[in-house]
Amino acid sequence: MTLLAVQGLNVSIRAVQILHEVTLEVAAGEVVAITGESGSGKSMTALAVMGLLPDRSMATGRVVLDGADLLALSEAQMCSIRGRDIGMVFQEPMTALNPVQTIGAQVAETIRIHEGIGKAQAWTRARDMLARVGLPEARFPLTRYPHELSGGQRQRVVIAMAIALRPKLLIADEPTTALDVTTQAHILDLLRDLASEFGMGLLMITHDLAVVAQMADRIVVMQKGRVAETGPTAQLFAAMKHPYTRALFAASAHRVNLPPAPAPVPLLQVRGVTRTYRQPRRSLFGPRAVVDAVADVSFTLHKGERLGLVGESGCGKSTLTRAILGLEDVQAGEITLNGAPVWSANRSNLAVRRQMQVVFQDPYGSFNPRHRVSRLITEPFHLLPHPPQGEVRDAAIARALTDVGLSPDDAHKYIHEFSGGQRQRIAIARALINDPDLIVFDEAVSALDVSVRAQVLDLLADLCRKRPLSYLFISHDLHVVHSVTDRVMVMQAGRIVEQGVTEEVFGNPQHAYTKTLLAAAPRLPEIGGISHVT
């Protein structure tokens, strides 16, 4: 029985058409996943169903829920449907909750607004609902504020709000993208259980094919505002008629081809490094709590090696990066590069720094928008005692840009003229300009779309064929780390809990934490002749 039928939906915002003839169906109790590249119109489809399109947008076509065309309803009628018949969960749990209201009040609000019942009654039901999503009152009183909860817990509150009235349809827009793998697994489980328990239709939006494969009964693949392909999950993966679907799948499953690592000669040595931060005082004269962001970490990175570092958000990866780069001092331990300390005499050692560079996560925030590419990528010249000038400089720029697959002419452009993937290439060009021995990648591909990510990863493999480079590759994405490193370290709460050759660690994890991580990570099915190793 069809619960939701979207038929020929067209949406335009300020006269720009965003969605073209989108058609899809969700049956009661069914999980339908919409997937596709960023900007393909996934969220807009969901918002059109909710009647919450941005200002000055136009929707035509039909959105039929239980026989009623939602597009034809008045705003007041839509208000009574939202929250009661359709619930929605958003991507960013950090901002989706009102920071100044308690979680109890926010969940109860959904109930009160539709059923006009007393506060006490609504709170009782809110309590039950929160307990159902895994926030029992004993541990999570209803009087907590959102900031007192972790991201996963907040997402549970949002879910509780969305399902408080047992809507017929639940729309979840990238509900786990902002969460850690382990948390993601829990939330996905919860959503699936709820859908079957309440007999809800679940329309889930995600760009992660692995998640799709795991969750969905049916898949809708979108491209540029159109539905590219749709069908039951197994069938679709087996057939993949549409070239776009195939490309998407290939990119997700991409595995780069690394050259073999040379014989181990130590390059970077980290010995017993501890970095602590002092927390603000809790009480006026109470002691200041100290957190070990990095605790007694030791490892060696060899010349030409690609070393991975994985761990959940907040486990200390970036802190360790900053210490290695000599941007901050450490409380204990020593870090040397080619035998020289990165931090000496209370300041960072610029002579050593010259031999390292870094590529950051955010391709949009890594560049000063006011400078041209030539100036951006030559910034590390500042580390040289005699920075090259004139033709030498131009040649260095040209070489770096060519190496990362851009044209030397791009040197005169501004950064806003480039796409995310190109920007990340420019970031790599900047890292290469001084011919460093070591490049640190801090989540360098996390913000990129799957297909672009695949290209950048290929570039990395390519580069270490061309140049004598070593990588320290930091990511929370196990799949990426798996594909691009020789050796891997697993970090938890500031400590390295396991390290070893990548294939061994991933194939036969020893530490319990590593096992949990691997178990939680969604997997792509092995179909369609595309070999895949994760």
């Binding site: 919450l52 208000c79 939202r82 929250g83 359709i86 929605m88 901002t95 009102n98 959904t110 969305a162």
Partner: protein, 315 residues
């Protein structure tokens, strides 16, 4: 919450001490001798010296500073040079004009600004919004003293609805007192209301773009409900900051308005005291104003915490 309050309190005290030093230093270097001023052009030098001794002006500066500060801590602001009455009593008399005026103006400001800001935000881009915003642009640009002049001209001289100024005293009853403060409060409040409405509007619009508003809408709240239940309280933080600043402005900005409406408030007291070189009065009144401002800012800080639970634990 206690920790938050305590740290605020400590920084409040430090501010007060630094402020008292600054004020004392500035006032002490005023050119002009209070005694000579009081005795006028025909005074003889020995008379001036006698008066200086009587006023305690012959003490050393540090001694006078300490005497002033320690007196203030005990609630004794000393004796006015020219009025020969306790400064604290003079301040008490005046503050019952200035403070009610500032509060009255603040209430008016809020009463005008909140509805205007909320209305404009909820009709974003519409004719109502454009109208309100145009009016506030004008309101921001009008000098309040000029506005006061025009108000007097229209309402006191031509229409004779209000008296042109002066203050009958609260002992004459509540209504005559309030009536005397209406025009001054309006003159003070309108430009401030214009500013506050703009802040209110933009703060609300910022909030309306936040994710949690979308969440609220997804729950089934109408636009209006989302605005009232979710956006408003969050939008209060910048608005509170501005209200805090405005209070200090209203308190001191009263100086000019008090002059126009000849109200016996702190502003006029400062003016008189400066021209009479009644240094101790100047010092004490300025200190009091600074104290009030700091206390108001303190209250605003505390109010933030009341509005925003995140501040209760964090700094």
């Amino acid at each position: 919450m206690i920790r938050y309050t305590a740290t605020r309190l400590i920084s409040l005290c430090i501010s007060l001490i630094v402020a008292s030093l600054v004020i004392f230093t500035v006032v002490e270097v005023f050119p002009g001798d209070p005694a000579a001023y009081m005795l006028g052009v025909n005074a003889q030098p020995d008379t001036v010296a006698a008066l200086r001794a009587e006023l305690g002006l012959d003490m050393s500066r540090p001694a006078r500073y300490l005497a002033w500060v320690s007196g203030m801590v005990q609630g004794d602001f000393g004796q006015s040079y020219t009025y020969r009455t306790p400064v604290s009593q003079m301040i008490m008399d005046r503050i019952w004009v200035s403070l009610p005026l500032a509060l009255f103006a603040l209430v008016l400001t809020v009463l005008i600004a909140f509805p205007a800001g909320i209305y404009a935000a909820s009709r974003r881009g519409g004719a109502g919004d454009i109208g309100v915003m145009g009016a506030t642009q004008l309101g921001v640009a009008i000098p309040n003293f000029w506005f006061a002049m025009i108000l007097v001209l229209i309402f006191a001289i031509h229409l004779r609805w209000f008296s042109a100024g002066g203050f009958p005293g609260w002992d004459k009853g509540l209504w005559p007192g309030i009536k005397a403060l209406i025009l001054p409060a309006v003159a003070l409040a309108l430009p401030q209301a214009a500013i506050l409405s703009r802040v209110m509007r933009s703060s609300l619009l910022d909030m309306l773009g936040e994710d949690f508003i979308r969440t609220a809408r997804a729950k089934g709240l109408s636009r209006r409900q989302a605005l009232w239940r979710h956006a408003l309280r969050n939008a209060m933080i910048p608005v509170l900051t501005i209200i805090g600043l405005q209070f200090s402005f209203l308190l001191a900005g009263g100086i000019v308005i008090e002059q126009v409406f000849f109200l016996p408030g702190l502003g006029r007291l400062i003016f008189q005291a400066i021209s009479a070189r009644d240094l101790i009065v100047v010092e004490s009144v300025v200190m009091l104003l600074v104290f009030l401002v700091i206390v108001v800012n303190f209250a605003v800080d505390i109010a933030y915490a009341a509005v925003d639970p995140r501040l209760r634990v964090r700094r």
